[in-house]
Amino acid sequence: MSTTTQPEASSGGKQIIQLEGATVRLAGDSGDGMQLAGMQLTNTSALAGNDIATFPDFPAEIRAPKGTLAGVSGFQLHFAADDIYTPGDRLNALVAMNPAALKTNLEDLEPNGILIVNEDAFDGKSLKLAHYDENPLENGNLEERFRLIRVKMTKLTRDAVAEQGLSVKEADRCRNFFAMGLLYWLYSRSLDPTLRFIDAKFAKMPDIAEANRRALRAGYNYGETTEAFVYTYHIDPARLPAGTYNNVTGNQAMAWGMVAAAKLSNKDLFLGSYPITPASDILHELSRYKNYGVRTFQAEDEIAAIGSAIGAAFGGAMATTTSSGPGICLKSEAMGLAMILELPLLIINIQRGGPSTGLPTKTEQADLLQVMYGRNGESPLPVVAARSPADCFDVVQEAWRIATRFMVPVIVLSDGYIANGSEPWRIPNTSELKKIPIEHPGPLDNGDVFKPYLRNERLARPWALPGTPGLMHRIGGLEKQDVTGNVSYDPLNHQHMVNTRAQKVANIADDIPLQEVAGPEQGDLLVLSWGGTYGACTTATQRCRAEGISVAHAHLRYLNPFPRNLEKILRSYKKVLVPELNLGQLQMMIRSKFLIDAQGLNKVQGKPFSVIEVMEKIRKLTA
């Protein structure tokens, strides 16, 4: 939502309008560089002090056939002078680089929104590929509904870079910088961060660097000189808490959180991983941090990835594995092994649309029941979920704290929306970060036999490391005798061990914070959410409360075990609504555990909730 103030006169003869915020989407062909342009606009807006939330949306194909509807790649950015939680529902501005991009994105543009199109791309062939019978720029409909700005972007970019002697193909690749320049002018942005980016990125290709610089400036100057724009816009810096900020994606924050957790627990980080969308960026990121003692192992498959992590955990490393749903399926047997071995291990699942290969590049939250129940035998594991890109940093440290305190593998859930989205992250002082103390038993030299399954008050067993004299012991997937860890088929021992392992996970509830609630302590409706729906649910409940609706919001970080005050909270409201990007998985857990008739708001379209969707459901349930 953007509030406007009276226009002021600007230097360039245009008038400047103050906005509270704006939602902008760049859409083009997969090869048009929209993700790069979006990231640059994001970074520039963050450096201007705005709060930001982003939503990159791209196809699974690396290069779908040029100009087709399937090949459209988009990047949505919400930047604001206010604290924001979502990348925005409705677009205030849309840049469409070709007809296919216009067709697939136009419906999200608000009435009278700014529509910038590259009119050079609206030729017969491209129109046909986008299934347009006639040129939509020519029939007057768009002008009636939107502020249409037609830009001969291809020609203007080629002219701008003419002196660089590039091929036509190379010159056309600079168009995204032209589009960026135009947006920078429109939203009163500095070119400097992107100019610095160009210097660094194209340092070895001076001609390309200069061409991109020229295209960027040409776009900016075009805005200034053309008659097409009446106003430009300005968004004040956001009123964020004081501190130094960095703009982080969820996967980046996860990787940094993993490095931090290793340092804070005085461990070397080991990642066993197999490339999979949308988790691979964590592997890429971590492989760069070898001087932090990080060892990344790109395994031959998902099973070897977790297998290697189990071996590293036995050896005493901070062992982790990252994947997405299909990979988690393959890891399931090894997850059960890690569970019965009672070794600390992080299993990080960046969820995507399923089932099977599903929608690799789209978001979904449909792996909750898989990680809760998707193993043979009684095999409960703790589950925590990140709520936003920056939150990944904290959640993964918390997961490692739990894993080592309770000697248990912990599942960390994120999703494609969080992983690829970005937001400002206040950089913590390293002294603010909580240490994660770990104890290993020392040598035993009095001839006693070491007892690997003798438990402490939390029911955690000792983490004895190979190399320690006197602690030689064998662990395995067979049921083991309490205390000694020797293989045992004794019926009562099995019952005892199954109960003990379950109780150990349940005990974690005593070690985690109580659930917090935003809004009234009791009332008509509680919205209970988890994972990436945090932003939409937060904004929707805030707005509904402003409308006078009695609605509170609880967002779960801990999904297994639940915080110990959750039941009391749930029973303090007449109704409970669980919005989820699945067909009702947390809803099922809440119903089965508490016998509470929780209602669902469910969507599986590969897209996050819009704020409006959640608000409409809240209004309906409280009408």
Partner: protein, 338 residues
């Protein structure tokens, strides 16, 4: 002042657990030889880890007084790889069987070998699934009648050592469970090799596949059916040591010594040959057409995976200094809110 190391015996490597293999199983002999060679390696028990998968052989770690992981089916090489990367100071053994290593775990075996992780992989080959009570395995011969192949197996078997050599193995060897001195010496050679050692042990399952290796194990028959490889020596076999292997073009053939054929005419064994062709040719010699070679087929040096990885870690630290969290968080463009 140097501390005196305690003298260990094979008993120091025995765990307190009762061994539960069937009486007469070939596994006992391999366990005994393993315990016997352990003291000679000069590695204390706490520095040794045995990792296994699933199957009769994979119970092995429970019987060794070292660290151990009894893993899941086929995945021991993966578990061992992660352990060795995290803890290059440990001596890591993988105990596996023909089903565990070559069926369900084929992928992991292949990649552990080609990476040359410093593991000692010992594969007990009994040409049958024992723990699941007698189905055919990837090394069972064609036509083998088992519980799951009542009309005979139509699965073409593979040669484990050919697989290992095809995966760029740096150490490949073979021995026989009852040939105890040879077995002990082969295990010792494997332990001393830096990089992945792959050892196939012909092992008798006296319950589900008794006598599968009789031609190689029986004292009366084995001299004519196996050929002990010695580096730099000609390939000679037979009770009277009167037969040898000669190359005819690129094809091996059996020849009788004497009558114009001298030792110098025979194929000489070279375990250090960089090209694996020679070792591969030996791995293709199968009974009954040929005597089956035992001993070290191939022992060459190549950097190990964990060494190379840890070298990169050291190099990164040297170049950029020990990683500092505060510096990490400043990567990219930052801004300050007052």
């Amino acid at each position: 002042m140097a501390t005196e190391l305690p003298v260990l015996t094979s008993q120091d490597f025995a765990s307190d657990q009762d061994v539960r293999w069937c009486p007469g199983c070939g596994d006992y002999s391999i366990l005994a030889q393993m315990k016997k060679i352990m003291p000679s390696l000069g590695v204390p028990p706490e520095k040794i880890v045995f990792v296994s998968g699933i199957g009769c052989s994979s119970r092995f770690p429970y019987y060794m007084n070292t660290y151990g992981i009894h893993g899941i089916h086929g995945r021991a090489p993966a578990i061992a790889t992660g352990l060795k990367i995290a803890r290059p100071d440990l001596h890591v053994w993988v105990i596996t069987g023909d089903g565990d290593a070559l069926s369900i775990g084929g992928n992991h075996l292949m990649h552990a070998i080609r990476r040359n992780v410093d593991l000692n992989i010992v594969m007990f080959n009994n040409r049958i699934y024992g723990l699941t009570k007698g189905q055919y395995s990837p090394t069972s011969p064609l036509g083998k009648i088992t519980k799951s192949t009542p009309m005979g197996s139509v699965d073409f078997p593979l040669h484990p050592l050919s697989i290992a050599i095809g995966c760029e193995a740096t150490f490949v060897a073979r021995s026989v469970d009852v040939h105890i001195q040879h077995l002990g010496e082969t295990l010792r050679r494997a332990a001393e090799h830096r990089g992945t050692s792959f050892v196939e042990v012909y092992q008798n399952c006296n319950v589900f596949n008794d006598g599968a290796w009789e031609y190689a194990a029986d004292k009366k028959m084995r001299d004519d059916n196996i050929l002990e490889l010695e580096h730099g020596k000609p390939l000679i076999f037979g009770k009277g040591r009167n037969k040898g292997i000669r190359l005819n073009g690129t094809t091996p053939e059996i020849v009788e010594l004497g009558s114009g054929i001298k030792e110098d005419d025979l194929l000489f064994h070279d375990e250090k040959a960089e090209e694996p062709t020679h070792a591969y040719l030996l791995s293709r010699m199968r009974h009954p057409q040929f005597p089956e070679p035992i001993g070290v087929f191939r022992a060459v040096q190549r950097p190990t995976y964990e060494n190379e990885l840890n070298r990169q870690v050291d190099a990164a630290r040297e170049k950029r200094g020990e990683g500092d969290l505060a510096a990490l968080f400043q990567i990219g463009d930052t801004w300050t809110v007052e």
